[in-house]
Amino acid sequence: MNRTPSQTVGPYYAIGICRRAENELDQDGVELTGELIDGRGEPITDGLIELWDPAGGRWGRSGTHPAGRFRFIVPRDCDVLEVFVFARGLLRHQRTRIYLREVEDEVLAGLSLEQRATLHAAAAGGGLRFDIHMQGERQTVFFAH
């Protein structure tokens, strides 16, 4: 059978899929914040970020309304999170990863230093900071899926 194609989440997804707070993957975790940024450097205020820790079975999502920022509480005992990015203007979700600490793996080994830098969360004021750039010189590495 042929797969059903993807379509954008559009600007109003929050009424359907952000009805309750689901941004805590682990109550005792650490705060991770960041900004979703378009190719002009402008914040994307109608995006949606989903995080998944397959080893721990922990999942969460955060919208970027109203200022383009997302916020999660992520596990402390986790090296890397799987990420989907959705937005108005994005016809299919994009896949990336957030490395929460310095590790070496097959994924990073295949990337340039500049590319690797886009996947690492930075320590910031007791928490973690991770910005997602959709385009341009600083574009976050997105993976085929």
Partner: protein
Amino acid sequence: MTISSDPYSGPIILPDDPNLGPEVQLDYPGYRSTQWRAPSHPLVTLPEELHRLDGPVFGESALEASDDDLTRQHAGEPLGERIIVHGRVLDESARPLRGALVEIWQANAAGRYHHEVDRHPAPLDPNFSGAGRCLTDDEGRYRFTTIKPGAYPWGNHPNAWRPAHIHFSLFGRAFEQRLVTQMYFPGDPLFPYDPIFNSVRDPRSRELLIARFDLETTQPEWALSFEWDIVLRSTPVEAS
């Protein structure tokens, strides 16, 4: 007011391209917001095992009463044409996916979303929130009762209108089965002008976004029914 400096005055609709299959064209020029949001660098290949990830999977705790009946979430009944939307969630091998979380959201009958950003001067309906969710049963079936959404204008190009649609979000069993899409209604006159619908350039794949009118499950004296099956990709996870 139309903007005279606008580079074009109508929707850019590209010709059909069956070679694209179910893939949506991410940088579809007729959908202007893609310009600064679709990734511009090539996608990077992941090791095979990262395409085999499980989950997330949701259970009954994700649901609340009336989540599958959008006409019964308030004290009164919403205005509009009452409809049933049902179908199956399958993988590419036609295996039903049970326990899949299906979430929907939509405009009301007047074409207005219950969302603060929506400024379309059409009435809000105090009896309609426009959001629902359910889990598929053992045969992969889902079913919602709702109101047929209205078409609505958007600022993409002069006199741009979205065909009536219901947004669908799905989680299968495998991480990469995640799908967010839109269901359309048969025979909509706006199809040829909608760049989002036409960003799927293979005409047969585009047809897969359109529900079928279903007289068999239409409820006499009560509600028209539409059937729409959703096919998620096959992954090694559900084959195991």
